[in-house]
């Protein structure tokens, strides 16, 4: 095994590409182009909400239903993030549940990520909160961005909302999930009011249980502090972005 091969085992980065002159060989050029094409194709796949709801139900976790954002199609979703931050309506989901935690699954920019990781991530969250904090029925949000959790969490009447969202696909990873925590969610929250754990995509990225432990620590910290965001730092693995 060459030195570069050994190093490739510890990073997905495109390191040690063989040089021709001062550039890379044609096979690297074509490999890159193929990855870019695949990522672009993946962005436009629609979210299969029915299958996701079944998977979440199989964990013994209730699902409240599917909420559409104000966006009408995927193309508009990419051009109009403002419309993706607001639910068209929340009348079909339960109000004032009094639960501690709300979970919103938003397709975001990678439906692949949500399909692959949302259900097992919810499983890990159920484990860390089990018996301690009550989780409201999960809401699936289509053509949705992170802030859609503010209105949904407010409607659910939860103390803290966790938005599981498909992160923008890269070349190496097109299925990365992020989880954004907002304490006392309500419309008008700012990005600095949130904390996040990103790059959840085992086996390459963060594992579900590790992510769930960090999120549990952040939830506990937010409940103690009465706020989330840049002021919340748990001193170990707190994440804000």
């Amino acid at each position: 095994m060459s030195t570069w091969d050994r190093m490739r085992a510890v990073t997905p980065s495109r390191i040690g590409q063989p040089r021709v002159g001062e550039t890379v060989r044609i096979d690297e050029v074509l490999r890159f182009r193929a990855a870019h094409a695949a990522a672009r194709d993946a962005i436009h796949l629609p979210l299969d909400a029915d299958t996701l709801a079944e998977q979440i139900g199989a964990l013994g976790q209730g699902v409240a239903g599917v909420v559409e954002s104000r966006v009408t199609d995927r193309a508009e979703f990419l051009r109009r993030p403002d419309l993706g931050r607001e639910p068209r309506t929340v009348v079909d989901i339960p109000a004032d549940t009094g639960a501690d935690i709300g979970i919103v699954v938003a397709d975001g920019l990678s439906t692949t990520a949500v399909a692959a990781h949302a259900a097992p991530m919810i499983g890990a969250l159920k484990e860390v909160f089990d018996g301690r904090l009550v989780i409201a029925p999960v809401v699936i949000a289509r053509n949705a961005r992170i802030a859609i959790g503010d209105a949904i969490g407010d409607h659910l009447g939860v103390t803290t909302v966790l938005v599981l969202v498909g992160e923008r696909p890269g070349l190496s990873v097109d299925d990365s999930l992020g989880v954004y925590l907002t304490h006392r969610p309500r419309p008008g929250r700012r990005d600095s009011d949130r904390n996040c754990v990103s790059n959840i995509h085992p086996p390459g990225g963060l594992e579900y249980r590790a992510a769930a432990r960090t999120l549990a620590a952040l939830v506990d910290g937010a409940r103690t502090l009465g706020a989330s965001g840049v002021r919340l730092k748990d001193g170990s693995t707190s994440l804000s972005c």
């Binding site: 030195t3 190093m7 990073t11 980065s13 495109r14 870019h36 051009r79 790059n199 748990d234």
Partner: protein
């Protein structure tokens, strides 16, 4: 509020106030359409440009886009305005300034004249003139501006193109970060900074990464500086705890509300600069601040409105962020031009235009300006667009660009330049690394006397120890 009128081909266009003229005069981009302030037609855009060309520069000192009563960035812009530097151009219009700049670049003392006038140009004046300028104008004037900055290397000298080596890893694995640093160093990158975006913003994780890079830098005696791009408050905490902080990083924007969205204000930035300088780690300079900006950041935080709730165009807001940067004497500033997304810059053409605007405006304002030549997978752009923008910026005299292994940032999930792309630009355009770093490359046997990085077997490299832990 002034009302402006312009007739073109028998059609009269009307604009309510300076903010609307500025927005509608801006070359088309998706973010202004999203904000609802873009021109509705191409003809309306040109009508706004005619009006803008005739507006006296002095107007910008009395007619405000964002109320200084409620916005500290507006107050900063007014307070920092240098009337003496402004005197020479104080009678010009925006169009007159464009002509003055292009006449200036043909003179032998262009760099000195541009440097003298810079503090007299407010952010809004610079944004306004850029809206009238063609791409070649933006390139010609930016190239004539000379802005250098110093910490352990010298950035921004004519004929040099430095790089931020960005060795990001999805989980901040120190072996993975080290491997990417090794890859970059072997390809001659890292002279502006070895700068990591951490996956985690905790003080502990940030401190671990700082110590990792500092250990590599001191072990191989690399003349460069490191940075972990955590929130400025985290970095201040680390400075106080004695961590090896070289540069103090923060993302900034052009309105007080947008900066609040980032969790910062001018006082916190001042505190960050003082914390960084107090460590005294620079060897040839004490410029410690590193800022990132990008068109659309204020809009994305819904913090883009001016007096009367009127949306301010994203390019004007971007230049106001440079006014923030200018107040803290930074070592590095870069726009993340294609990173913010297609809702702000839709395709390769818009990204290219914005990259040239950002570079021109920042350099004219006296900033050591670099660019993250980049795009995301949901934008209509590809490697060909990046090749074009890199080449244009190399010609325009960009201080530095960002580079990652194989152009693929595996942590942030977007495409920047590759280390090889930088070698292309240096060879094709005759550019060299930062002088102190170039001498180190020569001493290591990694580069010839002209700064050309030689192909090197990793197992024979003096740096091979960096890969040993893998």
């Amino acid at each position: 509020m002034s009302r402006y009128r312009q007739t073109l081909a028998d059609h009269t266009y009307e604009f309510d106030g300076l903010a609307e003229v500025m927005a509608k005069a801006t070359p088309l981009r998706s973010g202004d359409v999203l904000a609802g302030c873009a021109a509705h037609t191409d003809a309306e855009r040109v009508a706004a440009q005619w009006i803008l060309a005739d507006i006296p520069l002095r107007t910008f000192l009395t007619e405000h886009l964002i109320d200084p009563e409620v916005d500290e960035v507006s107050r900063l812009i007014l307070d920092a305005h240098d009337a003496t530097a402004f005197a020479e151009i104080s009678t010009l219009t925006v169009g007159g300034l464009r002509d003055w700049l292009l006449e200036c670049v043909t003179r032998s003392d262009a760099a000195a004249r541009l440097r003298t006038v810079g503090p007299g140009l407010s952010a809004e004046m610079v944004a306004a003139v850029s809206k009238l300028m063609r791409n070649q104008d933006l390139i010609a004037v930016a190239r004539a501006c000379e802005v250098t900055s110093r910490f352990r290397t010298t950035i921004g000298q004519p004929g040099r193109l430095a790089t931020r080596l960005q060795p990001n890893h999805p989980t901040d694995d120190p072996r993975g970060v080290s491997a990417a640093i090794l890859d970059g160093l072997l390809l001659g990158a890292g002279d502006a900074v070895i700068g990591i975006n951490p996956a985690s913003d905790s003080a502990r994780a940030t401190g671990d990464l700082l110590r990792l890079v500092d250990e590599i830098r001191t072990r191989y005696e690399i003349p460069t500086q490191s940075c972990v791009l955590s929130h400025v408050t985290t970095t201040i905490e680390l400075c106080e705890a004695g961590a090896p902080v070289d540069l103090v990083f923060q993302s900034i924007a052009g309105s007080q509300a947008a900066n609040e969205g980032f969790g910062v204000n001018l006082a916190v930035l001042q505190e960050g600069m003082e914390a960084g300088r107090s460590l005294g780690r620079g060897t040839i300079g004490d410029q410690v601040m590193y800022f990132e900006t990008g068109q659309g950041s204020a809009l994305s935080a819904d913090a883009h409105r001016g007096i009367g709730g009127v949306p301010i165009d994203q390019q004007t807001l971007e230049v106001r962020a440079y006014a923030v940067a200018r107040a803290f004497d930074p070592f590095l500033v870069n726009t993340v031009v294609g990173f913010i997304g297609p809702e702000y810059l839709y395709d390769g053409k818009q990204i290219m235009r914005a990259g040239l605007e950002d570079h021109f405006c920042a350099k004219l304002m006296g900033l050591p300006m670099g660019i993250d030549v980049c795009y995301t997978n949901h934008a209509e752009a590809d490697q060909d667009d990046m090749d074009s923008l890199l080449t244009l910026l190399g010609v325009a005299g960009a201080a530095f660009v960002i580079a990652v292994p194989g152009a693929d940032d595996v942590m942030l999930g977007y495409q920047s330049l590759s280390f090889h792309d930088v070698l292309y630009a240096r060879r094709t355009l005759g550019l060299r690394p930062a002088p102190e770093f170039e001498q180190w490359l020569v001493r290591q046997g990694m580069s010839d006397a002209d700064g050309r990085v030689q192909p090197l077997d990793i197992d024979r490299s003096a740096l091979r120890g960096l890969g040993a832990s893998a």
